[in-house]
């Protein structure tokens, strides 16, 4: 009898080991891409996923440059309807996002959220596949100066017909908020994938999340796999965002100083905790030479990065091996 009891409990314990979390999944179509969210949880995550979808939809509208929405003072409104010198109250969510961005770019001036006029010129050539703009045309555009944007106690004023473009931050910023919303509701095991942008929570098994970094030259290949938990992994300059003209690749990330696309590397991938900062830093690192980037990352303990050079060489920051 005692033997049977032992056997019984051995079996119970073994069964207990294989208990898995359920996976709750959602695809959200916003910001010109699809955001895939997986939550690993014993309790039902359907409701929170609905809330996350609302969050993305809300910021999708607020940061939209190309469409106006009834009664919403979004980026389209600021760029195209708001008069120069006129002061208007913004939704605090958009105000906070613009404020956060301006604070960041004060320190890292290559990052600029007021480059809409410049981006539009490049977009026009890219969409019609009609060559590249001349320096005269680029030099003749209206302001791309962030100092023409004044934030004042919830209100915004523009001092010229400067145009905002939050493309380099919106996705990372909302993804950070989405992760925080999941965690504050007790869902701490999750992965949010949005193309160049992945955020993961606590590991759902004994292993950390395995994230592949796509080869920017051969898109069928993964050139590096990183093991992460509670981290954001963000790539700038992936193959998908290039425009090729007469054999030359032009990235979609444009240097506000030269007015031309940055061309120091094929891609750079940043690993850090906060997805909004990761989005910004990957853009920043894409716009400075790799050697400067390595020095910068090595002097910051909360960032690690890997670069794919123009010559195909791979460079990593000193702490990157922790993720390999």
């Amino acid at each position: 009898m005692k033997k049977l009891i032992i056997i019984f409990f051995v079996l119970i314990i073994l069964c207990g080991c294989s208990k898995d979390n359920d996976i709750y999944e959602k695809n959200i179509y916003v910001m010109d891409t699809v955001i895939n969210i997986k939550v690993y949880s014993e309790k039902d995550a359907s409701d929170i996923l609905e809330k996350i979808e609302e969050l993305y939809n809300e910021y999708n509208i607020l940061t939209d440059r190309y469409n106006s929405y009834d009664d919403t003072k979004n980026i389209y409104y600021i760029n195209n309807i708001l008069n120069v010198g006129e002061e208007v109250k913004l939704d605090y969510k958009l105000y906070d996002l613009i404020n956060f961005s301006l604070e960041f770019s004060k320190k890292y001036d290559k990052v600029n959220i007021a480059m809409g006029n410049l981006i539009d010129v490049w977009k026009k050539y890219r969409d019609s596949a009609s060559g590249i703009p001349s320096y005269e045309e680029l030099n003749g555009i209206s302001s791309i100066s962030e100092s023409d944007i004044i934030l004042n106690d919830g209100n915004i004023i523009k001092l010229s017909d400067v145009k905002l473009d939050l493309g380099c931050i919106a996705k990372g910023y909302v993804t950070q908020l989405a992760g925080e919303l999941l965690e504050s509701n007790g869902f701490d095991k999750y992965i949010i994938s949005a193309g160049g942008n992945i955020k993961v929570g606590k590991k759902y098994s004994s292993n950390p999340y395995k994230i592949g970094i796509q080869d920017p030259v051969d898109k069928n290949n993964i050139y590096k796999i990183v093991n992460v938990s509670n981290r954001s992994v963000v790539t700038s300059g992936g193959y998908e965002r290039f425009y090729t003209w007469e054999g030359v690749d032009y990235s979609h990330i444009i240097d506000p100083d030269t007015l031309y696309p940055s061309n120091y590397m094929k891609s750079v991938t940043v690993i850090m905790e906060d997805s909004a900062y990761a989005d910004f830093f990957s853009t920043y690192l894409f716009m400075i030479p790799i050697s400067d980037g390595i020095n910068f990352v090595n002097s910051n303990s909360n960032i690690e990065a890997i670069w794919y050079g123009l010559d195909g060489k791979i460079y990593t920051s000193s702490g990157f091996s922790n993720y390999e």
């Binding site: 005692k2 033997k3 009891i5 032992i6 056997i7 409990f9 051995v10 079996l11 073994l14 294989s18 999944e25 959602k26 695809n27 179509y29 010109d32 891409t33 699809v34 992965i191 994938s193 193309g195 160049g196 942008n197 992945i198 993961v200 999340y209 395995k210 994230i211 592949g212 970094i213 796509q214 898109k219 069928n220 993964i222 796999i225 992994v233 963000v234 790539t235 992936g238 193959y239 998908e240 991938t269």
Partner: protein
């Protein structure tokens, strides 16, 4: 529960008991491995419309499939373990221009049509890919 586990520790076991436990342990471990291996059969593609899984396609069989996207029919072709979108209605035809895919690291996304095709299979070891 705590009480019983405590008792287990006090039971005096002879060699046969230990053998029996080892045998059961080995059988259970082997079954778990066995189940896990056969759970993942050959690779297949999952087709989603928005959030809903609308079609699961075995990539080992060539064939043509039709699903309804946001802008109308989306034609899917499977050939030599690869899958592509053959025809669809969208302004820039990005997803039919993408061509065949055959690895779990690739995804076909037809944004205007809200159709996503993902490959899953034996070599599914990554949780995600940054592009």
């Amino acid at each position: 529960m705590v009480k019983y586990i405590h008792q287990v520790g006090l039971v005096i076991m002879n060699k046969n008991d230990i053998k029996l436990i080892v045998v059961i342990f080995v059988i259970v471990t082997l079954s778990i491995i066995f189940i896990n291996i056969f759970k993942k059969t050959g690779s297949f593609a999952k087709v989603y419309y928005e959030d809903d899984l609308i079609l699961k396609i075995d990539l080992s069989k060539d064939g043509n499939y039709k699903v309804n996207g946001y802008n109308g029919e989306v034609l899917i072709e499977v050939k030599d373990n690869k899958i592509r979108v053959d025809r669809e209605n969208s302004p820039r035809h990005l997803c039919s221009k993408q061509g065949f895919i055959d690895s779990t690291t690739q995804t076909i996304v037809c944004l205007p049509n809200k159709i996503i095709i993902k490959i899953e299979g034996k070599d599914q070891e990554l949780d995600g890919v940054v592009k």
